[in-house]
């Protein structure tokens, strides 16, 4: 980790280790909030704010927190920041609060945030953790915006509420509903697999390395180490 340049830490999260498309973390909010560009962007920014703050704090505390109780400590830190973000969104963007609904408090169990705390912030310096948080956050937000764009354009014929395709064809509302979410996610992920040169980087399974509970997990039998 030491010889990594600052720039590569920042750009890591964009494509090479994109949290949603390559690491397959944070699937629930990705599917649920990418119904439109605005929702996806709002979710992305909220999660990024929590991710950056928690990465910084956990990195500062990484020498103080005993190893055996680190997961509860991380969850407490993350839950604190999620509450702050929840109150801020409720106060300044009530419309967004209404459309994100349940998924706003659920940022606390977003695997990306706990995953980065476990995989990066507890091993690296404060500044590197900040950069990692920014990079991963941008990767997450960008993916949500791309998926939101596809679903909004095909589903409602608009982009950010501006009519684009709706003049020439009716929207396929199925795209903004649940099946469309799964299908668009599948297509985008397959496309990333297709264009990525280095096939070895692609995770073709939900492995344990991304899982926050990996250490407590009894030889991986509980989860999906060798999912095809």
């Amino acid at each position: 980790m030491e010889n990594k340049s600052k720039l590569s830490i920042l750009t890591n999260g964009l494509i090479k280790e994109n949290p949603v498309l390559v690491l397959v973390l944070g699937t629930c909010p990705t599917l649920a909030t990418s119904t439109s560009v605005v929702n996806g962007f709002g979710m992305g920014v909220s999660a990024t704010a929590v991710l950056i703050c928690s990465n910084i704090v956990i990195s500062i505390l990484r020498k103080i927190i005993p190893d055996s109780v680190r997961i509860p400590c991380y969850i407490t830190v993350i839950a604190g920041f999620v509450t702050i973000v929840q109150l801020v969104v409720k106060a300044f963007a009530p419309a967004l609060d209404k459309s994100l609904g349940l998924y706003l408090p659920l940022i606390v169990v977003n695997c990306i945030i706990l995953g980065r705390a476990e995989m990066f912030a507890n091993k690296n310096s404060v500044f590197d953790s900040l950069l990692d948080g920014v990079g991963m956050g941008i990767g997450f937000t960008a993916t949500l915006v791309v998926m939101g764009s596809i679903r909004e354009l095909t589903g409602a014929g608009t982009w950010c509420g501006i009519p684009v395709l709706s003049r020439i064809m009716p929207g396929m509302s199925i795209m903004t509903l649940v099946p469309g979410g799964f299908a668009v996610y599948a297509i985008v992920m397959a496309f990333v697999h297709y264009i990525t040169e280095d096939k070895s980087k692609i995770k073709d399974s939900f492995g344990c390395d991304g899982c926050a509970s990996a250490d407590d997990c009894v030889d991986g039998s509980g989860c999906s180490k060798e999912v095809a």
Partner: protein, 192 residues
């Protein structure tokens, strides 16, 4: 009584957590490779959901009475995490057989958004204590149902079909879930 039956049926079919509300997607996609572990995970999630609801609902009333309801997120996640830990320790000591079949799934459940989701949505929908418990039980059953269906489809998918290279792994599972979600939409409007 009819009200409780409706809550359960609607949580299993109409508002199925993984297939209609995008909750608990990680285990739904990750642990659904074979039907044995899918069933184990489903039962463990149901169990934790009901217990977590049984504990968090009174806590929310306590928070509300003190005027600190905004601490919901922090309190709930900590209560659920310690509850899961406690159940695991208790099972390990007293119910070895059950621990062997369900215990391995318990640490994974702490960070499962379906459990926190059901606790918060019980509060948000203003259910009373008994309704909340039924709602949690129905949500768990729905999750179990979806897991078993998915495991059944996947066992055929992996062995007996030729999948294009870029679709192998996660994408094809997501596409399967899309088709399943489409068919579950058929249950929509059952209760209106």
């Amino acid at each position: 009584m009819a009200k409780y039956v409706i809550i359960i049926i609607s949580m299993v079919l109409v508002n199925n957590y993984p297939l209609a509300q995008f909750l608990g997607i990680c285990p739904f996609l990750g642990v659904s490779k074979d039907s044995e572990s899918a069933t184990g995970m489903g039962i463990a999630v149901t169990f934790v959901m009901v217990l977590a609801t049984a504990v968090t609902w009174p806590i929310q009333q306590l928070l509300n009475s003190k005027g600190i309801g905004y601490l919901q997120t922090v309190v709930f996640i900590l209560v659920i995490a310690s509850l899961v830990q406690l159940i695991e320790m208790f099972m390990k000591k007293n119910m070895v057989g059950l621990y062997k079949s369900l215990g391995v799934f318990l640490p994974l459940i702490t960070t499962n958004c379906a459990v926190l989701g059901v606790c918060i949505s019980n509060i948000d929908s203003g259910y009373n204590y008994l309704q909340s418990l039924f709602n949690a039980f129905g949500a768990g059953l729905g999750f179990l149902f979806a897991m078993i269906l998915m495991a059944g489809v996947r066992s055929k998918l992996v062995d007996q079909s030729r999948i294009p290279k870029s679709w192998q792994g996660v994408p094809i599972v997501l596409l399967t879930a899309a088709i399943m979600a489409l068919s579950f939409m058929g249950f929509g409007g059952m209760f209106s």
